[in-house]
Structures are given as structure tokens and as C-alpha cells.
């Protein structure tokens, strides 16, 4: 077959793919039956309203900033809590990871990185190691108990090399200190054996069909660690089974811009996404349905739509914390799809964009990291009414 004939086949196949996607979209729309509205923004909220749910109400001092973690000398790009104890690791433009005791605000480790261009960090399940990655295309592992070298730096204990593009996100597999998943600008995700440094599986890439643009975020299902979801600049999120690297289990369309961040919902059956199109969405993992879109106009003088940088769900799933590029940090009531609070309006709020969010293991504290070089910890400071 000649190149010209192949190009014709390519055009025909592209048209078939687009037509099939449109048919699929129409069939799915028919299944969005929650309130009969044709609006794509109201499915879930309509159901919640039918159950008599009203938005969560916050008083002016219900959510307070109770710790400010100061020490980075550059923008904070990423943070992660330990699964058990109250420690946080953060990564910054200053080329360091800092490990914090969240209760006392003290720094227990400050790790100077071999490559300053770090984008992501993560704690191992046992809290003994941290991982980070960035523009060097490598995921570096540091054992926090290792002795420092002659310059006072913590040495790298393992380098996970193999990506052909930047490492945008990393997460240890829950309860497995030896396995970690990374996402990359090379359009793939990789499952690693940290002990040997080997790639166990590559998800996506040129032939195994996967994302068709940079992958920006991963989230592993806390209820079933064999499943994880990834978000990409190709405007899709994909669900993967770590046992089947050859293809994604499902592809989730809907966003109209880069999917910057993904996070599993606490029930392990749904996940949230945040995008450059300014919306967050809730998808059902098993059916592929888009259950809800979280979208609100932001006050923007230039008319630009701020993009979502990071999201996190509260432990019950009732609240969705979403940070945006215009320094807003909305707290959404997930059931009624309303913004119930903006952290930006609170005392001691950040002075710059919030780039990362994370809930503590027990769900009682939210940590935010920002371009203002600080991390802040927020907790409920109000009254609970007695019955």
C-alpha cells in the first residue's frame, strides 16, 4: 500500500472515530436522566434537590488557618501528607523538598535536589521515604533515615529513569512501599518497582493506545489499588488497570481543556477532575457517566477563565476543594454543586496562586501550597451544635 493510500485510510479512520465518539456521546446523554433537564450542569444537583438537600453553610470563622509553614524560598508546586502520622512533604521552585511536622510546623528534613526543576512529590506509605520528579524526567527516591553526605545533603537512594519527558506527578501505591506510579510529559504513565528501579508496566505510549498528549496527573484508587486514573493535555481522563497495560479501561471525555488534576472520590467508584477549561467534573468510574460539572463564573477583569490547578475531596465526599489559577480556592458542596466558601476570602489566606491541595489521613485538616512560598493548614474551628 502506498503512503498516499495510507493517508486516505487515515482520513477515513479519523472520520469513523469522530462519528463513533459522537454516537457514544448521544447515547450517554440519553442515560443522564436525573432531573430531565437538558443542561449538562445539573444532573447530580437535580437529584440532590429532589432529596431536599440544601447547601452546606459555613460561618465566617468555621474554617481557619491554623498553621503557616514557612521556609521555602520559591513557589510551592506540590505537597503530600503521610498516610499515618501528621507529616507533610512539599516541593518547591527553590529546588528543595521539605518535610514538615504539621502539628508543630517544624521542619524535619530539607532535601536539596540534584535537579532543581521539581514538579511533584509523594510520601511512601510507611513514611520512611519520599519521591519527587520534574523536568529531569527522573523520579528520585530519598530514604529519610539515610545518613547525610559530607555536604549535609540527603543522598538519592534510587533513581527511576525511563521516561522520555518530564515527570508531572507521582504517587506510591497505597500500602505498597515498593511500587509507585508516575505520569509524564511523554504521554505515558509508568508503574515502577522502587527496589530495583525497573519499569513494571508502561501505560500508553505510541502503540499501546493511551493519552495523545502530556499526562499531568495520576490518582490511585484507595479502595482498589489496581486501578488508577490519569489526566492529560488531550482533554481526557483515562482509567487504567495496572494488570492490563495494553489499553485504558475507559476514556472519559467532556472537558474542553487540559485535565490538570484528577482525584478519586472517597467511595472509590467515582473520581473528580479539574481542567484548564475552568471546570471540575465528577465521573462514574464503572459506567463512564459524567455525573456533575462544577462551574462558576469567577470575577475576572480580563475575562479569562481561570484554570483549575488542584482538587481534593473531604473525607465524606461532601466537599470538593478546588484551587484555581486566579488565587481563588473554592469549596464546593458536591451534592448541590454550589460554592459554599472561598478560602481566598478568609483571614490569613494565601497571597498567590494555590498550586496544590491535600487532606490529612483522618480528613480533619487541609493543607494548601502556594506561589507565595508558604503552605497553610486549614481546619474546622467552629462550633458543633448539640442535638
Amino acid at each position: 500500500m502506498s503512503v498516499a493510500e495510507l493517508k486516505e485510510r487515515h482520513i477515513a479512520a479519523t472520520a469513523t472515530v469522530n462519528a463513533l465518539r459522537e454516537r457514544l456521546k448521544q447515547k450517554r446523554t440519553l442515560l443522564l436522566d436525573t432531573d430531565g433537564s437538558s443542561s449538562c450542569y445539573s444532573h447530580f444537583a437535580g437529584y440532590a434537590r429532589s432529596q431536599g438537600r440544601t447547601p452546606v453553610s459555613f460561618g465566617p470563622t468555621d474554617l481557619v488557618c491554623c498553621r503557616i509553614l514557612q521556609g521555602h524560598t520559591g513557589k510551592v508546586y506540590s505537597l503530600d501528607w503521610t498516610p499515618e502520622k501528621n507529616r507533610i512533604v512539599s516541593a518547591s521552585q527553590d529546588g528543595r523538598l521539605i518535610v514538615w511536622n504539621a502539628l508543630t510546623s517544624q521542619k524535619t528534613h530539607a532535601i536539596k535536589l540534584p535537579c532543581a526543576w521539581v514538579m511533584t512529590c509523594a510520601f511512601s506509605p510507611n513514611g520512611q521515604s519520599v519521591a519527587c520528579g520534574g523536568l529531569d524526567s527522573v523520579c528520585s527516591i530519598f530514604n529519610l533515615n539515610s545518613p547525610v553526605d559530607k555536604d549535609g545533603n540527603l543522598p538519592v537512594s534510587r533513581m527511576l529513569s525511563g521516561h522520555k519527558g518530564y515527570v508531572s506527578s507521582c504517587q506510591y501505591v497505597p500500602d505498597e512501599d515498593t511500587h509507585l506510579i508516575t505520569s509524564s510529559g511523554d504521554q505515558t504513565c509508568v508503574l515502577w518497582d522502587v527496589t530495583t528501579g525497573q519499569r513494571l508496566s508502561v501505560f500508553g505510549g505510541e502503540f499501546p493506545s493511551g493519552h495523545t498528549a502530556d499526562v499531568l496527573s495520576v490518582s490511585i484508587n484507595g479502595s482498589n489499588s489496581k486501578m488508577f486514573v490519569s489526566g492529560s493535555c488531550d482533554a481526557t481522563a483515562r482509567l487504567w488497570d495496572t494488570r492490563i497495560a495494553s489499553r485504558a479501561v475507559r476514556t472519559f471525555h467532556g472537558h474542553e481543556g487540559d485535565v490538570n488534576t484528577v482525584k478519586f472520590f472517597p467511595d472509590g467508584q467515582r473520581f473528580g477532575t479539574g481542567s484548564g477549561d475552568g471546570t471540575c467534573r465528577l465521573f462514574d468510574m464503572r459506567t463512564g457517566h459524567q455525573l456533575q460539572v462544577y462551574h462558576q463564573q469567577h470575577a475576572a477583569a480580563d475575562g479569562e477563565v481561570p484554570h483549575v490547578t488542584s482538587i481534593a475531596f473531604s473525607i465524606s465526599g461532601r466537599l470538593l476543594f478546588a484551587a484555581y489559577s486566579n488565587n481563588d480556592c473554592y469549596v464546593w458542596d458536591t451534592l448541590v454543586a454550589k460554592v459554599v466558601l472561598n478560602l481566598r476570602s478568609l483571614q490569613n489566606s494565601h497571597e498567590g496562586r494555590i498550586t496544590c491541595l491535600g487532606l490529612s489521613a483522618d480528613g480533619s485538616a487541609l493543607c494548601t501550597g502556594s506561589w507565595d512560598k508558604n503552605l497553610k493548614i486549614w481546619a474546622f474551628g467552629g462550633d458543633r451544635r448539640e442535638i
Binding site: 503512503v3 495510507l6 493517508k7 487515515h10 479512520a13 469513523t16 472515530v17 463513533l20 454516537r23 457514544l24 450517554r28 442515560l31 443522564l32 436522566d33 436525573t34 447530580f44 440532590a48 432529596q51 452546606v56 453553610s57 460561618g59 468555621d62 491554623c66 511536622n101 502539628l103 508543630t104 517544624q106 530539607a110 505510541e206 502503540f207 493506545s209 489499553r247 475507559r250 467511595d267 467508584q269 467515582r270 465528577l282 462514574d284 459506567t287 463512564g288 457517566h289 473525607i315 465526599g317 461532601r318 466537599l319 458536591t334 451534592l335 483522618d362 480528613g363 480533619s364 487541609l366 481546619a379 474546622f380 474551628g381 467552629g382 462550633d383 458543633r384 451544635r385 448539640e386 442535638i387
Partner: protein, 194 residues
Amino acid sequence: MAAVSAAVSDCSPSFPSLTPPCPKAPPDYPDLYGKRRELLKVQVLEREIGFLQEELKSVEDLQPASRGCKEVHDFVMPNPDPFIPRGLKTRRSHGFWNWLCGKCCFNCSWLCCFGGCSLHLEKTSCCNCRASVKWQGCCCLKKKSCQHCCILPALACTDCHPCNGCTSCCTGCKKVCHCSNCTKACCNPCHLCC
């Protein structure tokens, strides 16, 4: 000599100039790399067509979105959430209280404890709550019934890292221990300062 003469005589405008030699065009090799790349793109698309056709079939058997919405609603509603103000019976504290009211060297005067106290705190009768100690962790003045007050015990500071290696820290280095009664000189790793 004849050649030189011929060359000299070539300078005269009456003789046609020789065409300069030009390289031959390369032979038409097949663009194998381009063909393989195009074939790969087609194969990926045809594979995607297969996946989409499978998904179209499976959509026929899918439950409607309302079932998923109900599942989320039924999951969320009964689950307590540390961030949500809601009516609760008085009960023992859980991780949330341990976190906020636990080992903390700060003056947590803005914290109000209500309901139960964490295991680390002492309960006291609100009759002992004086106005002067209103903001030292005793929240009884906020409560009408004044039944449950907690006070934060005085806790020792955690150990600070030794500063033996601090020989060349910047003058702007802030070595602050956040405990009000801590006497330690250096409470942060020194290499953070410079």
C-alpha cells in the same frame, strides 16, 4: 597548448559557454520510515474504532446516571465530615480533636472545644471558667449549658535539632522555636538558613 588556446578562445563572446556539471538526482528510494509511521497511525485509529464499537455495545446495558447520583448521595449523607458543621450528640473525640487539640505548643486560644474532649485534654467544670481565662482554651463562656469545657495542658516543647553544625548560618537565619517556654537556641536545621 591546443586546449589552452581553446580555453583562451572560449573567453571570446563568439563561443557558447559550457554548462556547469550538475549532480544527478538521488534515486527514488521508498520513504520506508514515513510509510511505517503512517501505517502505525492507521493501526492505532483502527484499534480505537474497535474499542469505540465495543463501548457502544456496552452502553446499551449501562445503568442510568441517576443510579450513580443516588449511590453518591447515599454514601455522602451518613458519613461524618470534620469540616462540616452539623448537629452531633456529645461524644468522645476522634482524630480531628487529637489533631487540633493534641500536642501543640501554640497558644490555641481561638480553638473551641466542644462536645467531648480528646484523650489528651482535661475536662473542667465551667464553674471554674473565669472571664480572664476565656481565651485560654476554655470555651464555656460560649456555651449556655456550660457542661463541657476543655483546657489544653501545658506541654513541653518537642526536641529541637542540635545546632552544633551551625557555624556559618546567615545573619538573617531565623531559628525560632514555636514553644513559648522553649529555651533551645536553634530549632531548625541550619542548612535551611542559607
